[in-house]
């Protein structure tokens, strides 16, 4: 025999509507932070805005699968990074095949050779366009990790969870991604004249 009273169903619907509104408010409050990551994952503002729109559309559709009390920002960014992968933005070349001789201090050394030794004046030689262009040259596997940790300020463990990869892979991709980024920044700022 059913235990459901005539009042139970409307009450359940009202609770669900309240939960949904709360979820949407919390998700929208994170939009700035999510956009910051999106903007660094893709090359143009338009692509970032599209990616945001798709992310929030999917999040609002799947809101029931979010577990209240867990990390909502990580949940949203997992959707974002998966959508970015689905959208076929992966570059064709195989990044692991490229030899990479440069060390961690590669960019510092290049700027020093060029006579720019003031370590607190990075932006004297680098523009934000340089940063966006250099990041867009970092292969996606590496860029996804780099953006989550360096820009999203996620821990290695959170990035591993969001991207569904082992933490060791996060660390190795981060290591390599940063070196590629520095090489690209060096190409844009110092060029081949040093």
């Amino acid at each position: 025999m059913s235990e459901t009273t005539p009042e139970a169903e409307p009450r359940k619907l009202a609770e669900e509507a309240r939960d949904r509104v709360r979820f949407e408010e919390e998700a929208l409050a994170l939009a700035d932070q999510v956009y910051r990551v999106a903007r660094r994952l893709v090359s143009t503002r338009e692509e970032a805005e599209d990616l945001m729109q798709e992310t929030y559309a999917r999040a609002f559709r799947s809101w029931r699968s979010y577990q209240p009390g867990t990390n909502l920002r990580a949940w949203l960014l997992r959707i974002l990074t998966n959508l970015n992968i689905d959208r076929g933005r992966r570059v064709q070349r195989s990044p692991d095949m490229q030899p990479l001789e440069e060390g961690d201090y590669f960019l510092y050394n290049k700027l020093e050779e060029a006579g720019e030794t003031d370590e607190e004046r990075v932006d004297r030689r680098l523009s934000q366009d340089d940063a966006v262009a250099a990041l867009s040259e970092v292969p996606h596997d590496f860029r996804d990790v780099l953006v989550l940790v360096d820009i999203g300020d996620f821990s290695y463990a959170d990035a591993a969870q969001i991207l569904d990869i082992p933490i060791g892979t996060v660390m190795s991709r981060l290591h390599r991604g940063r070196r590629i980024l520095k090489r690209e920044l060096a190409d844009r700022t110092v060029g081949s004249n040093v």
């Binding site: 060390g103 960019l107 990075v122 940063a131 966006v132 990041l135 821990s155 940063r178």
Partner: protein
Amino acid sequence: MALSFEADPCAKCEEVLQPYLDRELSDAERAEAEKHLDECSYCRKRYRFEAELRRFVRRRP
């Protein structure tokens, strides 16, 4: 072979600098790195540059 602050402090510092900036070192490792950064101007200059570069890349375009 793993580097150590005793055997080759500047090479070890280079190895841990990024995880240090990521706040992923243990308390003991962080203390060792900070001690070396206090003492070594070569590594300190590079640390400041790397920290500034991180802030620069983070800035919203």
